[in-house]
């Protein structure tokens, strides 16, 4: 099992008391599996993904990531998990503005000490970025930036790819292409994929679907 999360709860302190966001969510993801996470806005999808990516800690419950219990780890170990095991495509973790496309794609792989230039070149070509390797993020369109982020996440061949609405600001046709590409690449690397999406059309193309509602699995 790549991911085995049990009974996760999480609440946030707001102006008027604690706001429960996740109340007892459990899920699993096996190697080679692709899981679509859906649910209305505010249902806690991003929060769940943050927990699974070791970016944030749950209030209770357990998360085993590639057979390692990650709840209760310190900053250094959580950073190592993210570096070694996880590929992230989140809207708010932008590209590094002062690095060009090539350097951005190779970045996490380098950080993890697993840089493979051939694989990076392949990724760039397949993502349609081959002739913009020297450009900086500010010189790319939104969709192109999204593709660079996907390349960056896949470059170190992570065990799990966690994606939060990776096609959110792409037109339908491009979104379909990008998703097909992601699914191909995930299949090739044998990684598991957990993807948040609002689109039922896209969700049905993944092997499994999970729907969140008001912090619970519906």
């Amino acid at each position: 099992m790549l991911i085995d999360a049990q009974d996760l709860t999480k609440s946030f302190a707001t102006g008027d008391g604690m706001l429960p966001v996740l109340s007892g969510v459990s899920l699993t993801l096996a190697a080679g599996e692709t899981l679509a996470l859906t649910g209305e806005s505010g249902s806690g999808k991003s929060t769940l993904l943050h927990l699974l990516a070791a970016l944030d800690a749950p209030d209770s419950g357990s998360i085993r990531l590639a057979e390692t219990e990650i709840t209760g780890l310190g900053d250094r170990d959580r950073a190592a998990i993210r570096r070694e095991k996880i590929g992230l495509v989140f809207q708010q973790f932008n590209l590094i503005p002062s690095l060009n496309t090539a350097a951005n794609i190779a970045f996490q792989a380098r950080l993890a000490g697993r840089h493979d230039p051939d694989w990076c070149a392949t990724l760039a070509r397949r993502l349609g970025l081959a002739d913009m390797l020297d450009r900086y993020p500010e010189q790319l369109s939104g969709g192109q930036q999204q593709r660079v982020a996907i390349g960056r996440a896949l470059a170190p061949r992570p065990a799990v790819l966690l994606a939060d609405e990776p096609t959110g600001n792409l037109d339908e046709a491009t979104a379909d292409d990008v998703l097909a590409l992601v699914l191909d690449l995930v299949a090739e690397t044998g990684a598991g994929l957990l993807m948040v999406t609002h689109s039922t059309r896209l969700a049905t193309r993944l092997s499994r679907q999970l729907r969140l509602s008001k912090g619970r699995v519906a």
Partner: protein, 799 residues
Amino acid sequence: MRRTALAALVSHWRRQKLQLFALLAGLALATALWSAVQAINAEARRSYAAAAGTLGLGSYETLVDPAGPIPVESFAALRRAGWPVTPLVEGRAEIAGRRIQVIGLEFLSAPRRNLPDTLAADTLSPAEIFLPPGIGFAAPATLRALAGQPGLPRLFADPALPPDRLFTDIAVADRLLEAGSGIDRLLLLPGAPDGLPDAVVPGLRRQPAESQGDLTRLTASFHLNLTAFGFLSFAVGLFIVHGTIGLAFEQRRGMFRSLRALGLPLRTLLALLLAEILALATIAGGLGIALGYLIAGALLPDVAATLRGLYGASLPGTLAFDPAWAASGLGIALAGSLVAAAHGLDTVRRMPLLASARPRAWAIVSGRQLRRQAAAGGALLAAGALAPILADGLLAGFALLGGLLLGAALLLPLLLSAVLALGAAHARRPLAQWFWADTRQQLPGLSLALMALLLALATNIGVSTMVSSFRQTFVGWLDQRLVSELYVTAPSEAEAERLRAWLAPRAEAVLPIWKVDLPLMGAPGELYGIVDNPVYREHWPLLAATDAPWEALYAGRAALVNEQLARRNGLHPGDPVSLGAGWQLPVAAIYSDYGNPAGQAIVALPTLLEHHPEVPKLRHGILTDDPQALSRALTEEFGLPPANVTENGRLKAVSLEVFDRTFTVTAALNILTLSVAGFAILTALLTLSSMRLPQLAPLWALGLTRRRLARLEILRALALAALTFAAALPVGLALAWCLLAVVNVEAFGWRLPMTLFPDQWLRLLLLALLAALVAAALPVRRLARTEPSQFLKVFADER
């Protein structure tokens, strides 16, 4: 992992070259000013040490003959009679176009600890020392200047010697000075009996040893001044560094979060950032030290002239590299940038991984923070004001200055915010309203730079007010005080008598200027005797007096004292002043006596002669209608060396030059500090300009042209500079008052009346506006050229 992360961090600077330049230049400028001042101070201290060390000859009592040189036979007779004396010849000789002070000692009988090291170490053979051409010692630079000149002894370098001095055997000195054989002074070595050797050689006089202490005290205040200036400049520089480092952290928030999300541990990130800052500080510090060396080299001749003119301390005009101040420069650069970066590092440490990635409007300061900062400013002001009450001395004076400047700087943002809010409240047109409100919103990002500008402007106003007040008072005082048209010094008392007889029919009056050096109220002082002549009553600059002071003076019933003596001892007209053992007179009046460190008293000439018949009777002031003709006659017909005859006009010019040079250094530092502040504004505006885009884009979309927006940005910079100037003016005047009424009194013993020079303020205001204009020009040019697509991107990004 570290290499990759570091490369990403550094890539920021590659893309933001201007910001990198601002950071390095700000820190380098700050370090340069600091280390230049340190270099000058270190150089000066070395010179005093040298002067006090080898030429410790002043620490001996001496025997002199008021009538002229002492014959060699007298010296021999004294030795035979068992008096431990050693002869000394001194004078100035023109060698290689330089005025060299030649000091001749008898190497055999001179105290060994006053001999140059080479000689004391016994490495030279007697033949080398005593057979022609003989040997001599000079500072290395002097030695180089004298190399190859004919007629000189074999010269050795002695770094402990002050410049332009040649230390040699008495016979060689005689030859160089072209003096007839004769001894200027006999040093009384330890073990000499008390009293005078009248039985052996009659007519000699004993002179007390000189003290070096007051030189140190006086120059210390000058150096304290310089150090304070250096520190201030560094503080201004730190504002820049704080601003740019803070911005670099703020801009990279997103990157830091991405790095951590992708698996870089927080500690590693912090360590890398620390390493980055230290590396930048080392580079900038190194540049700054090099720059400081150049500045110090350029200023040192003026400083040397100032110290020589003001205090008689001699300083070589060139700079020697000293690793100690280089290290102190690097140290303060590192410490300064760490202080500046501490806040940024702490923010990174506490930044939650999942907080908003958008850089907050840079350095947002809440109203409460603004008020808290202003409260701290008020507290500093109060503490500064209390300092002179709780303690005295120069340090309290500087505490007052520090409290005033820092307190005012901290109060500035709140003040500006209040003024801008007032402007917004009174604005009618919507654009004007937006302008005021928006300017107020920019304040947090600009406040550090504006505080730096305030400090620079206030220092500028304060110091130039002091300088100009000083100069004006001094010129007026010189006009009063230099009453005679001509000053003449006779080579001996016999000549002086002939001179007086010769002058009597040719001049309106001959005024003896005779004085004895003696301790006055426990400190070195001078006692003058004057004759009854109306010029004194008409011109002498009295600060306070009893009724009819001159009558009391000439009747021998009272004395005049100078301001320094009066202030140091709390004397007022009517108080008794002690003029020596068992001799007291009431103070008839107090007169101003600028530029003179020593205490001074004046009595009627007959009174002086009664107590000190031995007073050297050589110097005279001459009242005449035609000083030039008389001066020519004295040098040509009477055969006086030109150096012994000085015309009033020339003396005035020389004194004024000394005083003008005194402040050249200060003025140079003033300009440098102001440019550092201008630089701070440029940096702040440049960095703000990148964040301005989202704020300006809506206005552009609503129909304001880019040119119009650019003009408004310029107007904003000018308005802020003008407001800051308005705030700096009272601070600067308060600073001037502190300098004139507190620091000067503590350091020099005189208080100067403060004069206001509004034309200087106007010039400074224009300069400040110009600095703001220049600083705003670059970012505004960028704005005016911003592609519409950039504006559009703002909307695209907002989604």
